[in-house]
Symmetry: C2
Subunit: 227 residues, 2 copies
């Protein structure tokens, strides 16, 4: 309840009255893409708050004014950037055709899948740390980005909950565990640990971290892990 209502940094760059339409010409589309790439570069280098529209224009090699042909504000580019990138990140986390699990038991298979998912998540986070940090930064004051973040989290949680429910139907996980809440907690665990490692610069060794996360996850669900 007592959460800062937190509008935008200065005030009222919530978007221009006329959000620039997507470009119709080929040149326009290229320009927009260049600006987006430049924005990502500058944001990752300077952080969202310090970054200036001028820097983005400069990085894209265009005049200051051209920026406003495509985006209404710094916040607007960022939102576009997030929207464009989110899909890529999710794609990179999609289930790859992995080598089969060593152990054929339902529980062993489940643990193997959890491990694979955790490894993919950690790798994705490591390769996009700056972006994740930016995402978090803007989340703290932009409601729209906050909504995107929540949606992403909910998708993750949904997948995990589904997998837990499956294991409950198989009788491997206790039926009286709240799958929704448990999924939230486990996702928070992995998210939070990796965030601390990469964004807050904690002292971790990747392999050991993933192994511990998988082990805790499995045991939390009552799956046999290790001997």
């Amino acid at each position: 309840m007592p959460r800062p209502s937190a509008a935008e940094p200065p005030a009222g760059d919530a978007g221009p009255s006329v959000p620039p339409a997507l470009p119709t010409t080929e040149r326009g589309r290229r320009m927009r893409a260049r600006l987006l790439a430049a924005a990502r570069e500058v944001f990752e280098r300077d952080g969202f708050l310090t970054a200036r529209v001028t820097d983005i224009s400069a990085a894209a090699g265009v005049a200051h004014g051209s920026f406003y042909t495509y985006f209404g504000s710094k916040t607007a580019v960022f939102r576009a950037l997030v929207a464009e990138t989110m899909d890529d990140l999710y794609a990179s986390m999609a289930t790859h055709g992995e080598a089969g699990p060593p152990d054929g038991s339902p529980a062993g298979l489940a643990v193997h899948r959890i491990d694979q998912a955790n490894r993919r998540f950690v790798a994705m986070y490591r390769q996009n740390t700056a972006l994740m940090a930016l995402f978090e930064q803007v989340t703290t004051f932009d409601p729209e980005v906050r909504a995107l973040r929540r949606a992403a989290r909910e998708r993750n949680v949904g997948r995990v909950r589904h997998s837990i429910e499956q294991l409950q139907r198989d009788g491997v996980v206790a039926a009286d565990l709240d799958a929704e809440y448990a999924a939230h907690a486990l996702v928070a665990m992995v998210n939070g640990a990796v965030h601390y490692w990469l964004v807050l610069d904690g002292d971790f060794e990747e392999e050991r971290l993933v192994a511990t996360l998988t082990r805790l996850w499995a045991q939390a669900l009552g799956l046999p892990s290790r001997g």
Copy 2:
């Protein structure tokens, strides 16, 4: 590695060359306290970025200029606020003399203590949600606050690691579990879940959340939980 180096919001309010000394007179101390209280009020209402020094002065009922007698910048008040408040938060989490656990076994006792600690943490977070959100916001761009946040986290993790090591000595928890990594993961789980609930406004019911967190925590460590 690719983390936004993220200086301050505009630029260079990293602190004035001459950080105002603490007041010597009684009046000065009262004034400083009033400004701090006003700062907290305004920050919680508007968020750190939107808040203006003028607003803080106004809320404290003093002239704009008086602010600078006590603090060098908006960031400076915030740091002072965090420093002052952190102790209170930690105090509120200290072990209270609780009623004895229902079950005398070492594991049952451990689970009970975990549950108590989780309840205290959640209650503290709920009562200081706005502050925690602020803390997170500023962490994303101020290195000094980031350091404070890390320190707080490390203290938490240290306590948990210690308790895990104790359980390992008692033979209740597997000795080959990395206590440090596990402590980080478990702290991240509770932190992250509560953050999602209160700051990102997730849909949770407190009792069920705490119960699930404790249960997962206990099971993750291999402690018997529930029947």
